[in-house]
Structures are given as C-alpha cells and as structure tokens.
Symmetry: C2
DNA sequence: GCCTGTGAAGGATTTCACAGCC
DNA sequence: GGCTGTGAAATCCTTCACAGGC
C-alpha cells in the first residue's frame, strides 16, 4: 500500500518537515497549503496531493496544525528515531563530514569512521577514533549501522559501496564523484557540488545569449 | 530552440560527461548507449533521447566517439571555460568548501570569500584572503562572478541570496539548510546531506517491515 | 468565506519499437 | 549484426477544479 508512493513525493517530505519546524519555532500553530507553498516555491495543490498519500491531516477552512503535521511527517520519515551512520574515508572531505555538527541534532549519529591510510588510523576526529578500513566488515556485523557515508576517492568508491551493501547497509550517502552501482533495494543519494554547478553553467550560458 | 530542453535532461548531461571522461582516461574511443547506460544505471534509450536534443553524435552500428562526444557535451554545458565562483560564509563549512581541491580542476575558480565575522576577515583560507561581508556588493560590481556559493546559517541565507541576486549573479549553490526564494531566471541547486538522509530513512523503515 | 482532499485532465518524461545506416 | 535517432505509446507527475466540511 505504501509501496506505490512516488519517490519524488518522499523526497519532498523532508523539505516540508523542515519548513514546518521553522514555523513551529516562530510559534505558528496553523498553516495552509497556500502559505506553506509560498514559503517553499511549491504549488499548494502539490503539497495537498503529497500529504494525501499518507492521510488527511488538514482541516477545511483552517489548514494544517503545524506541530501536529510536523510530528506526523517525522513519524512517516522515521525522523523520530536515532539513526546510526558510519563514514568511510577520513581525508579532507571525510573529516569535514565527521566534524560537521549538523547531523547529530537531526538524529543521525556518526558511530564510526574508517580509513585505509595507516597514518589516519587511531587519530581522533570529531570525537571518534578512526578505525582501519580492514575493520569495516567486522564492525558492520557487530553493530547496527543504518547509513554509510562514502567519502573516498572515485577509484575505490565502488568497492567500498559493495562492501557496505554486502554487510547489509540499506542506505548510502555518496560524496565520491562517480555513480556506484547498487542493488535496486538499496537507497543511494549523491552529494556532488561540481555536478550541480555543471548543470547551472548551461543556463548561465543560455542567459548570456544562447551562443558562446 | 534550445529553450525547450527539459531541465532533467540538462541535469543528466554532467553525469554523462563525467562517465565519458573516465572512459577516455581508460583509453576507450567508442561507447554505445547500451554500455554507457550500464555504467550509469540509465536506460540506453534515455541516453539516446537526451543526446538527440542537441544533435546527432553517434554512428549506427558503432556507437559514440568518446572524446568527440565528451568535447561536445563540455561545449554544450559551457565546461570549456573558466567560471568564477565566490563563497559567502567562511565558517566550518565555508572553509571546507574553499579548501576543497575539487572545483579548480573542473574550471570553477574560487575568486573570493566573504564572512560577516570580523575575526575571520583578513585570514587566508585555501589561498585566498577572507573579505568582509560588507565588501560583497562592491566586489560583485567590480569583478565578474558567475556563481555564488552560500554557506551561511539558515537565518541569514535569504538575505545573502537576495544580495547576490541583486548584484547580478545568475547561479547559486546553496549549502544553507533552507529553501531561499530566487527569481525564476536564476539557477539554484541545493547541497543538503541531512535532507538527503531524511528521505532514505523512509525506505529503510519500509524495508524493515513497513510498520515499527 | 476559506481551505482541504481528490478524481480527472493535462503535461512532462520515459520507454518502446523500428526504420535506417554502418 | 549492431547500433543510432526518433515518432508513438506508455507511464509518471503536476495542476485543475470542485464537492464537502469548518
């Protein structure tokens, strides 16, 4: 039943949840699909349709109860629990990820970090001790880890992904500049600022006058 | 004419270009839509259709010339030139961005960085000197800057975006955890690992057995 | 009067399937 | 035989528009 919800819809829910959290912080108790849509540059109909996949959360004539809808969205997305994350690759990028303070408050706890470089192993980064890449399999089998963050060079990203998948990880956040293969039942998202910029340049060019 | 090309298509071109660059590096001179699709988990038909918006680059019976198609894609996307980027916000995240070595080799040159914190101003980060946020307008008017990278707290991201847009920036890479408003003729892409994780948790939950 | 929830319509994107060429 | 380029079909997603409830 929940299986036929379009992935685009799921991808928008965290955005809605974030906006609702901001409204809740400002003390707003009620919001219409119109108002929420205005804040997010999304049509009100889209918000209503998206939410309708999960139930009837609004009140005609009034709109949605802000804390109520926020709670429901967090339940739907599973944001009401703690998730265990491991980071593979503790180079410059991996270090920045481990030290970034934005995951913990959102329920994503970094429980381990791995690196193949012996010089990194044993160092403490952002409060955790870097483990050897060889310990990855063992760790994953002995500890619950929900999401693997891949921050290794492109050349070894596929083998790291394979290792994570084989160990039973169901979700991967990929920072490596390549597109790894994953089985269809594994979620993967890509964080790639260069790729993002490379599509914007097309439009800058276009605006500059189509040609050169 | 180029105006009706779907944005989804444009967003895929950098992925194709990256895969072609990898093939070229391995010395491959020819690739079929089938082989490229296999490497990228994309259907061959989609690749052919996407490319057909821009011309006829392949040869029946053989496929596409790897360096030739790569060159054409780079031209189409504007990756054959240098782009000037400025970074606003040089906190932890902004520093990591400025120090990240992955932009330069792809033609994205970071030409300036700004921060509102007087303690940051004047420091050198990744080879450039941090400027005061108050200098942003002046700098943008006296120098060509193509892309603005926003790495400030959510609370001030909208005003930074407004400032960039008013100064004539046409493309924004947003790292702030909120959705800023931009006029329709401005490109914006969001880099948000938390949001990415928050949609994957839905599917992890689902796989664990729907309920919980 | 205002706003939700939702079938139905419309639009966009993907996939099919095949003619044409190497 | 293999593969592209592409209309047509199929699918997916968004928007419309309105009945129904507050």
């Amino acid at each position: 039943m929940a299986l036929e919800i379009p992935e685009v819809v799921i991808n928008r829910l965290p955005i809605y949840a974030r906006a609702l959290a901001a409204l809740a912080e400002q003390g707003e108790t009620v919001v219409s699909s119109q108002a929420l849509g205005q804040a997010l540059d999304v049509t009100p109909a889209q918000i209503r349709k998206d939410l309708s996949y999960f139930g009837r959360f609004g009140k005609q004539g009034r709109g949605y109860n802000v804390p109520g809808l926020l709670t429901r969205l967090r339940e739907i997305l599973g944001l009401d629990r703690q998730w265990h994350v491991c980071v593979v690759g503790v180079g410059r990028l991996g270090q920045a990820i481990v030290e970034y303070g934005g995951f913990g408050p959102q329920g994503f706890q970094i429980v381990a970090a791995f690196d193949a470089d012996p010089a990194m192993v044993g160092r403490r980064v952002g409060g955790i001790t870097v483990r050897a890449a060889t310990e990855l399999d063992g760790f994953l089998h002995n500890n619950r880890v929900d999401i693997g963050v891949v921050a290794v060079p492109a050349a070894v990203a596929q083998q790291v992904v394979d290792q994570l998948v084989k160990a039973g990880i169901r979700a991967i956040l990929n920072y490596a500049p390549m597109t790894p293969h994953v089985p269809r039942d594994i979620s993967i998202r890509h964080i790639d600022p260069v790729i993002a910029m490379q599509s914007m340049t097309f439009y800058i060019k276009l605006a500059e006058g189509g040609g050169k």
